[in-house]
């Protein structure tokens, strides 16, 4: 299996994602923002960072990159896509996921390890988890405060599309939401960074299960 990682100008968790994917036993592939080509990968990670300096609005400019054209087609045809942190912001800007990530209510950047609960195993990126599993992951963001209109929020909850929920909310997000998926469940956005917990020496390798999930999902599909 091969997982692509998009690299925008200003992405800074791209190499961390490539490293974690490799540790999960999957082949990582770099996808340059200016090339409208997914190189035939089986899944795509949109990594964290400050794409285009986060100028204008987080993720707002990256969403117009050339690589986003095939990426949107891939997502719409059911391909597994994971946006982490800035990647989550890019996916909401591209309307692949509903809602928006607002500035943290504390008005400060926050970098810490936050416990959360996996709410569904019915996405390619959480297929190896059990609903209710606790997962502590690092967060590092200034705009992680998930917001969406109340009708969509009710939909997300009713349809089981909240993927990850904070046990200690670090940013004021609605319903303690740390991650969601789209209606087709193949596109997932997470504010916490699974790739940062990819090795025991970093504190935990609990994040690798996210990448192993998509590997297992792909295997099951074949």
């Amino acid at each position: 299996m091969r997982i692509g990682v998009t690299i925008f100008p200003g992405s800074n968790c791209d190499h961390d994602a490539l490293f974690a994917i490799e540790r999960a036993g999957v082949t990582p592939v770099q996808l340059w923002h200016a090339d409208a080509d997914l190189k035939g990968v089986d899944a795509v990670v949109v990594p964290g960072g400050f794409s285009y300096g986060d100028y204008l609005r987080t993720g707002a400019i990256a969403r117009f990159s050339k690589v986003m054209v095939p990426l949107e087609e891939f997502a719409e045809s059911g391909g597994p896509v994971l946006g982490v942190c800035n990647g989550f912001q890019v996916l909401t800007e591209a309307h692949l996921l509903p809602g928006a990530l607002l500035r943290n209510t504390g008005m400060r950047f926050v970098c810490k390890r936050v416990p959360s609960r996996v709410e569904t195993s019915e996405t390619p990126w959480t297929s190896l988890f059990e609903p209710g599993d606790e997962l502590t992951l690092p967060v590092a963001h200034n705009e992680g405060n998930y917001f969406v209109d109340s009708r969509t929020l009710a939909e997300l909850e009713d349809e089981g599309r909240v993927v990850l929920r904070y046990l200690k909310n670090p940013n004021g997000s609605l319903n303690d939401i740390a991650g969601i998926c789209n209606a087709a469940r193949n596109v997932v956005g997470l504010m916490p960074h699974p790739e940062r917990f990819s090795e025991g020496i970093l504190g935990s390798e609990g994040g690798l299960k996210v990448f192993r999930s998509v590997l297992s999902y792909a295997g099951a599909k074949v």
Partner: protein
């Protein structure tokens, strides 16, 4: 404006102007005068400190590059080397704290990048006036935001640092940033112009009018008028900085560059003339080729602009086109702006005409001021202290809680959680411990880094304080298990033209140099920031020390957090605490006084080296040095970080308030599994040590004097430094 007014405004003295006339053999034009102004500023030339800096040892078995380049380089092993340097941005941060701090990070990253290294870790050392004052709160908040804003976006983790508050820093904060880079040990780059006919390529952000005369501004005292210098402060763009890092590393990887230099203070002038002087060639710059972000810039403005996020490279002509193509891929402006010439001048051309020409060696040949070192009068007065005059302490619990909650001793969580300290997935020990610990991917190697300085000590005894800063850094690294190998420093002092300032500078350097020699940690890079004075007086002499240590096997490491119940607590080192210069004296009695003892360097080394051996032998995984607040603070921190209590039954020494809150160098607390106690004692042979208690429970109990629940300690310790002192409504500044 007559010529005297002109050069005075540019920060040059009468004698310096005379020297320029003599060197040039003619009167310089305004552009040339501007070149001298920036290159002869203290910031660029070290004209007041150079003779003193010679005192530092800078050689050692691991040193690949000492002072004189953009950053120092030390060998790690397995083909890797570490590149590091620390630099100040005090004056800019005093008037424009966000951008001042942000560009301190950007600037130090480029210094490391210019050596060809990938920047992998940032640290800092910050000083502010007390938080009761609104302006100080504003400066503190914005400096931290600025460091976070740049470091987080560029994707280099901020893994460590220190922050302290004292009245001496009111209005003149200290903002020192340190960067560490990783490079293969045979390919690091030196900045020198060689090869007549080679081209000079400028790439990065476009050049604007920001930061004109920034270096000159940074070499003067701060006054009320300094506020008007806000336009002199550079503006950072971390996005362009990130592109610059990736572009530069890509160019080096493709072997397209002869040499590389960052543009910092004094912009093109400084970079080009340093490269020319070091390489023994001349450089010609065509100013009309420089990509500009605004119209109508004069040639002199272009060559001394301090616009950020730019690099200068020397490139062989046939590779120039490829260099420009790579820059374009990273969406950076790039242009061939000049060439390496056979003469030795820095020559500025505009429209084919020479608009300024100065021999590069002259720009590098600033006058040197050596002054008499005379102890200032204040020293005798402040050192008088009779501890007997202080009443015996009654309530130890309340005292410990008050000390733990003080801004100088409480948790720094509210600061470091604003910094992304994990990006890059190499951070093994997070901020809050004795030192940051990073791994080197694909190896078992790692490194530790720390910044340290006790301004109060240096004020009370500059020489002892300078030595203590080095010794503390050495101890902190040793407590992680790393072998300390080399030092970078940032010497923050008042005016060298005053007796007090010059003495403090000279004495601190002497103390640091003696400690570096005794401990075997050469100084490989550094920076000097003088004239840190306001109308209220100078800052504490603050020689910030950045020290780096190396792990052969990073799996063998220690942190201060207590790991298990039932571990034996062992105090290692000659425990002779004093109240002189202590946090206790300042916090509880409002006094900054006394004569802190000079560190016993032989014992410091023995204790630290022994502690390191116990860690690398796999016997000890819990170690913490005694520092501000003394034994009780160290124990409280160990308990809080591990969420496990401790009971101490033996407090060695006399007066118990001195024992618990007095301060002492050269001491480390270890917690060790009971089963390994015997092995530990074998290794500790030759140094003083004493068992003082054991870990366990949910309380800190010290010999019947202190008896506190961890929850009470935690509440005192976990202060939010930004909220606690905010006035109603939270509107600051």
């Amino acid at each position: 404006m007559n010529i005297q007014e002109t050069y005075t405004t540019l920060g040059l003295s009468d004698s310096e102007y005379d020297r320029i006339l003599e060197l040039m053999g003619r009167a310089p034009n305004y552009l040339e005068l501007s070149l001298f102004s920036v290159m002869w500023s203290e910031h660029c030339s070290y004209k007041n400190s150079r003779p003193l800096l010679k005192r530092f040892p800078n050689r050692g078995p691991r040193v690949l590059q000492g002072p004189g380049e953009n950053a120092g380089v030390v060998k790690v092993g397995s083909g890797w080397a570490l590149v590091f340097k620390m630099e100040s941005h005090n004056h800019p941060s005093a008037v424009e704290p966000y951008e001042g701090a942000a560009t301190s990070v950007g600037g130090i990253i480029r210094d490391v990048l210019a050596m060809g290294a990938r920047p992998v870790a940032l640290l800092n050392s910050l000083r502010f006036g007390p938080l009761e004052d609104e302006r100080n709160r504003y400066l503190f908040r914005e400096v931290v935001r600025g460091i976070a804003g740049y470091g987080n976006a560029i994707g280099v983790p901020t893994v460590g640092g220190e922050v302290e508050f004292a009245p001496a820093y009111s209005g003149n904060p200290l903002v020192n940033a340190m960067c560490i880079g990783l490079v293969r040990d045979h390919v690091f780059v030196r900045a020198r112009a060689v090869g007549e006919g080679n081209l000079v390529v400028l790439f990065g952000a476009k050049t604007g009018r920001d930061g004109i005369h920034g270096a000159t501004f940074a070499s003067d005292e701060l006054t009320e008028e300094s506020e008007e210098k806000r336009p002199n402060v550079q503006v950072g763009d971390p996005f362009a900085g990130k592109m610059l890092v990736e572009c530069s590393l890509s160019l080096l990887e493709k072997n397209l560059l002869v040499s590389l230099q960052d543009l910092g203070a004094a912009g093109i002038t400084s970079s080009a003339s340093e490269m020319a002087a070091k390489g023994g060639f001349g450089i010609e710059i065509n100013v009309e080729k420089v990509p500009l972000r605004e119209r109508g810039m004069e040639p002199w403005e272009i060559v001394i602009s301090e616009s950020q996020e730019r690099m200068l490279a020397i490139v062989e002509p046939e590779k120039a086109e490829e260099v420009l193509r790579v820059a374009e891929r990273f969406e950076l402006a790039a242009a061939v702006i000049g060439r390496v010439a056979g003469h030795e001048d820095l020559r500025i051309l505009h429209g084919g005409e020479v608009v300024g020409s100065v021999p590069a060696p002259h720009l590098a040949d600033a006058p040197v001021y050596e002054r008499e070192v005379v102890p200032p009068v204040y020293l005798e007065e402040v050192r008088k202290l009779n501890p007997e005059n202080f009443p015996a302490l009654q309530d130890y619990n309340a005292t410990l809680l008050r000390m733990l909650s003080h801004p100088n001793l409480c948790s720094r969580r509210s600061v470091y959680e604003q910094y992304d300290h994990q990006v890059g997935t190499n951070t093994v020990v997070l901020p809050g411990a004795d030192a940051a610990v990073m791994r080197i991917k694909g190896t078992t190697l790692g490194f530790a880094a720390v910044t340290d300085c006790r301004g109060r000590y240096c004020y009370l005894d500059p020489k002892a304080g300078g030595a203590a800063a080095i010794a503390e850094a050495y101890r902190n690294l040793s407590c992680t298990g790393a072998e300390p190998v080399a030092v970078t420093d940032c010497l923050n002092f008042g005016s060298p033209e005053k007796r007090e300032g010059y003495y403090q500078l000279a004495a601190c350097i002497e103390g640091m140099a003696e400690a570096c020699e005794a401990l075997g940690t050469p100084v490989v890079s550094g920076n000097v920031s003088l004239y840190n004075e306001t109308e209220e007086g100078p800052v504490y002499p603050t020689p910030s020390v950045g020290m780096v240590g190396i792990f052969e096997d990073i799996r063998k490491r220690a942190t201060p957090a207590i790991k298990r119940e039932g571990d034996a607590l062992v105090l290692v080192g000659g425990f002779r605490p004093v109240l002189d210069g202590s946090e206790y004296l300042e916090i509880m009695h409002g006094r900054v006084a006394g004569a802190p003892p000079a560190p016993d360097l032989i014992s410091e080394k023995a204790v630290s080296d022994t502690v390191r051996c116990t860690i690398s032998a796999g016997i000890v995984d819990t170690a913490h040095d005694l520092s501000g607040g003394g034994l009780s603070l160290a124990l409280a921190e160990m308990a809080l970080m591990g969420s496990i209590g401790a009971e101490v039954w033996l407090l060695p020494g006399g007066r118990q308030d001195v024992v618990l809150f007095g301060e002492v160098g050269g001491c480390v607390l270890l917690a060790v599994h009971e089963e390994k106690l015997e092995e530990l004692e074998d290794l500790l042979e030759g140094v003083h040590y004493v068992g003082i208690g054991h870990t366990g429970g949910e309380k800190l109990s010290l010999s019947g004097l202190v008896d506190l629940e961890l929850t009470e300690l935690l509440e005192a310790y976990e202060q939010d430094l930004f909220e606690r002192h905010a006035p109603e409504g939270g509107q600051l500044g």
